[in-house]
Amino acid sequence: MKFSIYRYNPDVDAKPRMQDYDIALEPTDRMLLDALIRIKEQDDTLSLRRSCREGVCGSDAMNINGKNGLACISKLADLKEPVVIRPLPGLPVIRDLIVDMSQFFKQYHSIKPYLQNDTPPPEKERLQSPADRDELNGLYECILCACCSTSCPSFWWNPDKFVGPAGLLQAYRFIADTRDLAINERLDNLEDPYRLFRCHSIMNCVDVCPKGLNPTRAIGKIKDLMVKRAV
């Protein structure tokens, strides 16, 4: 199977290049990650992140034939040859398929991604109805792979100012949690021309999310709450 892979090692390369590989696969190689590991067995200089190989850790996000996704759950049979693999767009490349995700995590941290509730906890659990708990579905499952934020033009232009879909999805995860008491502070934190409102609902994030989540809808709900609060 034929691959064309982005290569760049600042130690030796003056500039990035694309390298072609043509490799024989085993019948057990089903996913793109299996193929990348075969390639690495032959050429150990190819660098990429990977861990769980089942789509829950979020390590192996990359740009696959022009679309962001996780290598470990991208079926080889579905990919057009040569498969063109590039690092996630919009973030600085450290080496080959490994990008510097500092900006992405900085935005995640900026929404205060932890439950805020300063009332003394009860002896047992805080109660939450099944319906209220259901509000967290489609939010808490995010794996922070960055496929969404790095497919978003607003994030490409303003990664330092726009929180991006992943961070905003998590902002809403806490806003939607009946146990969290900091809704107002959370909305204040996003009330800004860039942090929330740079989202123009082009929905690239929804298109690429490997977990089938919908950041655009969560962002819409935050915007609704902003409006409601203003009137």
Binding site: E41, M101, L115, E125, P130, L144
Partner: protein
């Protein structure tokens, strides 16, 4: 060669569940803590845990910690230390409530309490029938837990060294541990991190087997570091084979599927677990179920073209229950087995999943070296989670006790660190050769101009483990396995990598990981060959029965000379009566 040095009250190696739970407690106590992780914390392997965390909350039916303790002792096949097991089961409710207060998105019962489901080996009234003890967030409990713990650490301003790999422990003449030598993956820079307390929380080494549910990062780094520093590894012959890994792919299918009412079928459509475990059937403990499945396959009743797998049926639960309680499983079955599990069964096989053994610790996370029946504490060194052997899991871990283990002992080890260290005290001098071992390992890889590839030698190690030390073990095959593995260990010393770059050199990381894996593999093979009985996950064809007269004891493997030493199981709990060994029937 002068290398940079930094000083911390505590260094935590690993940012999975136990590392994050410990770090949180240390950071909230205002200690200066550094947490090292090879991956961004939420990518640690705790993220892949599915079914739940055990606690006798009794949110749906009666339950209590003493029943939980009985199940855990019995599940361990009486190799677990009963003091530590009592400690863990009594702390379980508090640990889970704390997690809920941190924001963990548990599923809920109709009255708003934490949702609980049945799990293998977890019973009411000392084995009478299944109990709902597994506290769950759908089938993503580990993911929800790991993210919650990370988030709470963000709140506590814990200092993370993300994408740093710890290479070796620093020990002085007296045997005290004074910190670690570590490497920043992005730059290749090596640094010593001096610490008054070093906590290993590096997880398991399930990647020593070819067929494993484990992530690539599960390479037993803490075990390798300990072994090279002269610390023994305990009970390494005991590896859990999870009954339901996706055939061919190895990806985990939670026992929660059977907890919610799914069951196993052979090729004749027979629900065969009824023969092996008449009372709890498919919810027997994992060693029992895995052996039953392997027996069915061996005796020609496996499904598939070559009779190579068993079928996990859950379509009768209905799409609504599956989508609510097991949505991740539906996704995995679709992606990795091409099966819509709301219609067809999932092909599964027993797959290496969990390491019951590890670095010997007491229930406060303190690492020790056995001295007869006594425990000689290694000052400055602690371990928690899968890399440690407390021993609460003994010869077989019960499902959902691993997430509990890492919460309880992550916290208890942090509490012990706080008791042990004097924040105001000056740091002792580091030995002059503190970083030499690590630098020598790196220098060998940098200077080697030829040798075998890391991938080749690693594959040989995994094949050898799979072939010689699987679900069923045979004396001649184990002896062969020892010989082969010692040869593999020799080959590991002569591997070669083409990539000599300093920048995010993953070839070098994999070579360093193989150093750790092979220590684990050698320890496993040698410990398994020596234990001439069948207990829990260790099943020998020449000694079919448990031998309590001779083998109620823990194995300790020392790297130096591959020496083995033993220490009796602690049968005495903290406050209650002992559970005496009995035949194990489910």
């Amino acid at each position: 060669m002068a290398i940079a040095k930094r000083q911390f009250d505590a260094v935590v190696v690993g940012a999975g569940g136990s590392g994050l739970r410990a770090a949180l407690h240390l950071a909230e106590a205002n200690l200066k803590v550094a947490v090292l992780s090879k991956v961004f914390p939420t990518r640690s392997h705790t993220v892949a845990a599915q079914g739940g965390v055990a606690a006798s909350l009794g949110n749906d039916g009666d339950d209590n910690w003493h029943w939980h303790m009985f199940d855990t002792v019995k599940g361990s096949d009486y190799l677990g230390d009963q003091d530590a097991i009592e400690f863990m089961c009594r702390k379980a409710n508090e640990a889970v409530y704390e997690l809920e207060h941190f924001g963990m998105p548990f599923d809920r019962t109709p009255d708003g309490r934490i949702y609980q489901r049945p799990f293998g080996g977890q019973t009411r009234n000392y084995g009478e029938g299944p109990v709902k003890r597994s506290c769950a967030a759908a089938d993503r409990t580990g993911h929800a837990m790991l993210h919650t713990l990370y988030q709470r650490n963000v709140r506590a301003h814990t200092q993370f060294f993300v994408e740093w790999m710890a290479l070796d422990l620093i020990r002085n003449q007296a045997g005290d541990v004074l910190g670690v030598v570590a490497m920043e993956m992005e730059t290749g820079e090596v640094m010593t991190l001096q610490a008054k307390a070093t906590l290993l929380a590096t997880g398991g080494a399930g990647r020593i087997y070819s067929a494993s549910t484990n992530a690539f990062i599960n390479t037993g780094d803490g075990l390798g570091m300990a072994a090279r520093a002269g610390i023994p590894l305990e009970d390494m012959e005991f590896w859990q084979f999870h009954p339901t890994g996706v055939a061919g792919a190895g990806v985990l299918i939670t026992e929660g599927v059977r907890g919610e009412g799914g069951f196993l079928l052979n090729k004749n459509g027979e629900r065969f677990m009824e023969r092996y475990a008449p009372t709890v059937k498919d919810l027997a403990s994992r060693d029992v179920v895995s052996r039953a499945m392997a027996t069915e396959i061996k005796e020609g009743r496996g499904a598939g073209k070559d009779g190579e797998y068993i079928l996990l049926k859950l379509d009768h639960l209905g799409a609504e229950v599956i989508d609510k309680r097991l949505p991740g499983i539906r996704e995995i079955a679709m992606k990795f087995a091409n099966v819509d599990c709301t219609k067809d069964p999932i092909p599964v096989v027993p797959t290496c999943h969990y390491q019951m053994g590890g670095v010997p610790t007491n229930m406060h996370g303190q690492v020790y070296v056995p001295d007869g029946a006594n425990e000689k504490i290694v000052r400055g060194l602690y371990a928690a989670g899968e890399c440690s052997c407390v021993s609460v899991h003994g010869a077989n871990r019960l499902g959902t006790n691993s997430l509990l283990d890492l919460l309880v002992f992550g916290k208890s080890s942090a509490q012990q660190v706080i008791r042990d260290i004097e924040v105001d005290e000056a740091f002792p001098d580091l030995p002059a050769d503190a970083a030499d071992r690590s630098l020598a390992r790196l220098a060998r890889l940098d200077s080697a101009t030829s040798g075998e590839s890391v991938a080749e030698v690693g594959a040989e190690m995994r094949r050898t483990m799979q072939l010689h030390c699987g679900v069923f073990r045979f004396p001649d095959s184990l002896a062969d396995g020892v010989r082969k593995m010692l040869a593999v260990a020799e080959r590991v010393k002569h591997t070669f990598i083409k990539d000599k770059s300093k920048v995010f050199n993953t070839a070098r990381l994999e070579a360093l990981e193989l150093d750790n894996l092979v220590e684990t593999a050698v320890a496993t093979m040698i410990s398994a060959e020596a234990r001439t009985e069948s207990r829990g996950a260790h099943d020998r064809s020449d000694h079919h029965d448990r031998d309590d007269a001779n083998w109620m004891k823990h194995t300790f493997w020392f790297k130096d000379g591959n020496r083995l030493q033993y220490k009796p199981v602690k049968l005495k709990p903290l406050t209650v009566e002992s559970f005496q060994p009995k035949p194990r029937v489910y």
